[in-house]
Assembly symmetry: D2
Homo-oligomer: 330 residues x 4
């Protein structure tokens, strides 16, 4: 079920240390101008290299195999891949018997009966989100004047993010982070009532980003302790503009044209340099584990552009779906 | 897109004050014992009548039209409906020009160009979740020994829920609530890596419940301020049991066999007796609105059984999907 | 998988002798004018009563439960049912041990492990196509100026259909038939290249009509023995009009705006009054069987309106899908 | 909508003269042994080179990017591509204004507003079926002891196929063909009643193969002129074996365990050396066209292995779907 969307359909494939990772986008309208360079800014935001991110270097350049011709989408499926080059798989063999806490080592082994590619986390690696960022670049073009902007607003509970990351690195530890995403000037009317509401679609895709453990819209969890008289957003003009935005721009699962506002909780990177307890499945007893290798002290640093991509893909699909259903109305 | 699921597929239909509401379940295995009375306990938990819930009374009895024969599911689509009887639509006409803050009055009008049934919130009414609860009863049977239990743990920010509700009622106001859901003894190995991870599937269906504005798993939003050394759950035995459960029973999007733990934020009921400001779209100016009629002071009181149903439906679909993919492995 | 379509989604449910049969249509645009009487002409064409069709009488009146309000579709799911009234289930018990040749008695028993409702063929009855005809009425409205017309052009190999039917009845036998369907003035550009080409979508839904065993487009099977110079349809003007129509109005899986032309082979009714050999699964030996009860001597007499409905539903979905994908192009 | 299947999901991408063509298979069970060489026999059957097929030579070697590790499927998406090497796009520019009769030149231009890649037929080229053959190789492994065998039984109406092809080549013309496909020892119980019956699923995928214009099961179109007493297949033993096989191994849309039997009509190649009339859209008047370049005189020669792949993919999906639904029955 590696596909998201009903019209603008995005599928991801690849393993962290396999031959290549990739994305296929089906149902993209023809005629959207796309140049290879268009992908670079977002891919560079996603890539490692900043303080607190893994020293692994991938050029990550997109190789467009199909669906784009003469600088425009053609309407047929777009497949874009990136060959994996900087691969160091040596250190991953041990995790079959000593699964790393917090990782998919254990669950992927039981789910796939030992056949999953364990190298670098295989298909469960954050590296697979490369294709989501690629799809996000095209989705943002479909959204035209709507602007999707995600920012890391807290790391390890602190707003001084740089310092929090440095402390975690020094301690051989990792920290989580809180990301806020705003969609300025969103189309109104997006979202289908049950099971594919704007919140359903957006949360479905956000929770497929590794390390995401919470999603909230508008006032979110704070709404649970609010009164209706506080939470209700009064309309103030005939375009549906509201005085407050506790609903995060969504009423009844449908966008109301106000800014879409959501927050995403990212857990701390599971791989840490610090010694941890865990179970040795071969030996049948508890053991200690220190995860060597290249890791992000704060994976949340790289997640904002992925959140943007996810939100853009969900909105692009909702938009095309809404316009499709409505096309024969008049 | 009023269908959830890939194998165990649930579709809802109906409007609050229409002729009937209903649910169709496609892809349900044959041979599951089902009696009409099996639906009553959960439907009665969902029904109004408690203090703080609307005085509207519906018998809500399920009318099984197809898919169940001789006390067992047949394998063909199950359709179950309930005729609406206690309908009072008089007070809803005004909301076309004066949309209620927090409701779908405005968004459904722009989305459906004025053709949506406005009576009682139409298809956006919480009443439509009746069918989800019906589907949940069957999903719980598919999950067999796994037990899904949701509880309201806070209302209006207080753990003294009864008192909080009473205060809201006295003030003509409403309050939100926080629901915790645990799945005891869940199957391990459920969840597909991208776009249909356990968290993706569960959040997609939870966010289609009206009034839900936040979903988190395990430590959830707290994880954003935790360290890896705190958040990682050490394995303690060969079944994958973990010492802590900050992951909420899900690693890499796949259930690890530990209790699934999640929380859901429910916003306060939008309809309140208190006077509110909003915009009069006919008059083109701000106005005040007092929503008369029958409402819940704390809709969250009725949501736990709906959360249970949603989680059970998502897990049943993930289970059948997992077993389907795996069936030819050996 | 009892749903057809990607945007205009049609689901059927019910059993022949169950409480009710029904259809749910999801993704229907709002604002389409629909009155209960609109369904009657097509339902009456489908109903039995003509010479050569079963004497079973069902009023078959549609009971609109949701999705239509004030004489228009609302945009939310449309559920329409019909209660079964004239039910005589006495004669069906025997077919568990002596399955009728040509029927689903045997296959449904092994597929559903004996839990399928056997009465009247259960969910495998032609009666379930009632809901497809209902959906077809709405689909035809979406197609606006395109006209879908299906006709029985041969029965039992003869063009004198009335006589062929009478001979079959007198012999206690049944006959098959050939149906031709034309879509006048179809939209051009419908069909997605792989897996949901115009031919793929139309054949998928046609082959779900019980008794259909062959589908061909344009010259169809004759094309297998033609030359390219004969089969190619020369374009004759700037609208894409072609001189001949061997392609049946579809090139590369996409409608070219010329008349869509297809033929459907309907097998003879499996239930016949004549004595047949078959296997008695209880006794473990061959036996003879004479199927009593109410049957159609030529089920193909009732199929044209179902073919029309199927083709209309497929085209409506392709149309909304096409317009959805294209909506953001300009 | 470039994806086929509900569990075993196959997506095709690529253009004839683009950078690469490819296939992604999602939902494949883990642990299926796959070596790169396993693909060669079927790919070689599909490849050109025989008399009557285009002289274009592609190595067509499969490049496995993901989903296969240590000689087994991993359970994550399998992506396999092939770079296009022997590309000669010179002669395709003219078809924008003078669309070739029988081709998708006209329909793809109107559908995609001129943005489709026209070179070599772009995404509408038979070349895209390469990925389907690749998927078929894996699907056949899932079907285990079931054997799918397709054969060209007639070309241009003649059983002396070699001679018919030679005559067509000499005349600068092309011919169609008739393909028969048998599935020996198929699983019983496959097929979902409405909309995804065995016939629906198989025909949907078969009609996405370019040039297929007709599909029939068992007696097929002949059934339209048969009597019930002739067409009904009497059961002869407790395994459901039947005396005749007019049903083609499918009753009520569900496989009955007898050989699955179907026939596919393939139209003659649209590109012919002979001069044809058609319309010049730039000049606004009729013109003549002679299609130079590399073509198959009888494309049907290459189609049997594609039919096998299509049928195998459909059956694999039906099998996994059936087993998934049934997994919790006992």
């Amino acid at each position: 079920m590696n596909t998201f969307g009903h019209i603008f359909r995005v599928s991801l494939s690849g393993e962290s240390h396999g031959k290549a990772i990739g994305v296929t986008i089906d149902g993209c309208p023809p005629g959207i101008p796309v140049q290879p360079d268009d992908f670079l800014p977002d891919l560079s935001r996603r890539r490692s290299g900043k303080k607190g991110t893994t020293p692994r270097r991938e050029e990550d350049l997109p190789d467009i195999l199909s669906g784009i011709y003469n600088g425009h989408t053609t309407g047929s499926p777009i497949t874009i891949i990136s060959f994996n080059k900087d691969v160091d798989s040596g250190s991953y063999q041990q995790f079959a018997s000593v699964p790393r806490p917090g990782h998919a080592d254990f669950t992927s082994r039981i789910k796939y009966s030992g056949f999953a590619d364990p190298r670098g986390g295989g298909h469960f690696s954050g590296r697979i989100t490369w294709g989501l960022v690629v799809a996000g670049v095209i989705a943002k073009k479909i959204l035209k004047d709507s602007k999707v902007i995600a920012t890391l607003i807290e790391a390890g509970g602190s707003k001084d993010i740089e310092r929090a990351v440095e402390e975690a690195m020094n301690a051989g530890d990792s920290i989580g982070g809180l990301i806020e995403c705003r969609v300025e000037n969103p189309p109104a009317g997006l979202g289908e009532p049950f099971f594919y509401s704007a919140e359903s679609a957006i949360s479905q895709i956000l929770f497929s980003i590794p390390a995401v453990k919470g999603v909230e819209f508008g006032a979110g969890f704070k709404a649970a302790s609010m009164k209706g008289s506080e939470h209700n957003d009064p309309f103030t003009d005939s375009t549906g503009k509201t005085l407050t935005n506790n609903a995060g721009g969504i009423n009844g699962g449908i966008t109301n044209g106000n800014e879409i506002l959501l927050r995403v909780a990212v857990k701390p990177t599971s791989s840490i340099g610090k010694e941890q307890k865990t179970f040795n499945f071969s030996a049948g007893k508890m053991t200690t584990l220190k995860v060597e290798g290249r890791h992000d002290a704060c994976i949340a640093l790289r997640v904002p552009v992925i959140v943007e991509a996810a939100v853009a893909v969900a909105l692009a699909d909702l938009l095309l779906l809404d316009r499709g259903i409505f096309s024969r109305k008049d």
